[in-house]
């Protein structure tokens, strides 16, 4: 399977309006200035505490970031005399900064409100402590600026393992997903799966807002899994943990036999366990998928069946005077 790196999308900016609307209810951000500069753009996912800029050092000032005023910044301004207050703050406002956030329940000074009006830069405040504000806002901004990718496949939560089925059109991805749903597993998305890189080493998958849990079954048409199977059959998001590549069995392809070498698939720089699964008549892909999920869980909890078997074999080879024995040496009289 090849993933086209060209199709990775990354937000290059979000507007202050979007930022405010999404953080208002989640993190309790309040608008404290007039409603100005909402069309301003945030171009960087990091926050900046402008302590040094306030003190006068603006050479490396990260003006494209959301500026966070914690206790330190506010106390610093408050102890300046009125003239210096305005001067020091104006130095900051003259840069094209997107917006100001004041944390820890501090109130803006009258100079800040005046400059907000003058330069059309909005000021928000929150009662949350500064470190918590940094954590919450960074996480939100990281997510907004995270690289994402749309993939063609079916994404299902099988025993809590996020499995993405990929493969050619018509190979039966949706049918496997439907079969898994029927057996009590949960559909995340079918056909179009948006994969987002969340933090280091984590990929999250979700559907699109339009499609949600609709799917197409060839020969039937479009069905709605949520209406049909209810809320227990779906979920909105899931971490991507295993990629299963379905393909019609090919004589010339080598499929894994022992499972000792783990193949992985690189998606946006993150290696995800990858299984190439040949489809042959009489093979129940759904059951195999459940087995893959259980095997993944076993490995996750420290039991790796191929390795355990390998070690047993090595021990056996070292044994002297050995013969192939039955599991039970003597059946006694228990013929069950």
């Amino acid at each position: 399977m090849d993933i086209n790196s060209k199709s990775i999308i990354k937000n290059s900016n979000i507007t202050v309006k979007f930022f405010y609307e999404n953080t208002r209810d989640r993190f309790g951000l309040k608008l404290i200035s007039e409603e100005v500069g909402f069309e301003r753009e945030i171009l960087d996912q990091n926050l900046h505490r402008p302590g040094l800029a306030l003190a006068g050092f603006v050479e490396l000032f990260s003006s494209k970031r959301v500026q966070l005023f914690g206790n330190t910044e506010m106390r610093f301004i408050e102890q300046l005399d009125d003239n210096k207050k305005l001067h020091s703050l104006e130095r900051l406002f003259k840069f094209d900064i997107p917006c100001l956030v004041i944390s820890n329940g501090n109130s803006p000074t009258k100079e800040m409100l005046h400059l907000s009006e003058k330069y059309k830069i909005p000021i928000f405040m929150t009662d949350a402590p500064t470190t918590k504000t940094i954590y919450l806002l960074s996480d939100f901004l990281d997510d907004q600026f995270a690289p994402r990718l749309s993939m063609h496949g079916s994404f299902v939560d099988v025993y809590g393992v996020g499995m993405l089925f990929v493969g050619k059109s018509g190979v039966g991805k949706s049918e496997v997903a439907l079969d898994l749903v029927e057996r009590g597993h949960r559909l995340v998305a079918d056909d179009v799966v948006i994969i987002t890189k969340k933090g280091e080493g984590i990929l999250m998958g979700a559907g699109t807002d339009l499609v949600k849990h609709f799917m197409e079954v060839r020969g039937i048409g479009i069905i709605d899994v949520r209406s049909m199977f209810g809320v227990r059959a779906i979920r909105f998001q899931k971490r991507l943990e295993v990629v299963i590549d379905l393909e019609i069995w090919d004589m010339d392809t080598e499929y894994t036999r022992t499972g000792l070498d783990d193949s992985t698939q690189d998606i946006m720089g993150i290696k995800i366990p990858y299984v190439k699964l040949p489809i042959v008549p009489g093979k129940n892909i759904t059951v195999i998928s459940e087995i893959i999920a259980l095997n993944y869980l076993l490995k996750h909890y420290g039991y790796d069946a191929p390795k355990v078997f390998r070690d047993k074999l090595s021990a056996k080879i070292k044994e002297k005077n050995r013969t192939t024995k039955r599991t039970i040496d003597y059946f006694e009289h228990d013929f069950e």
Binding site: N4, H152, S169
Partner: protein
Amino acid sequence: MLEKKVVIVNDAGLHTRPAATIVKLAAKYKSDLFIIKDGLEINGKSIIGVMTLAAEKGSELILRFDGEDEEQAAEEIIDYFKRGFDEM
């Protein structure tokens, strides 16, 4: 691989009926078809995929054909776009 830009010209945009036709046309060929709109890339052989684009009149799409019969596939499918999905 072949990449072509197309514009939606009919008033109703890329709704269910043309989406179904595109998928049918694409399925006739061995080549893969990918459609890209505003960075969202979908498989042109999947009806849900094509409808996900929700492409309105005037929107620009990039069609990417890849495979042995890409030329013929491109010709037929692009022609269908140009005809405004026979709704003009």
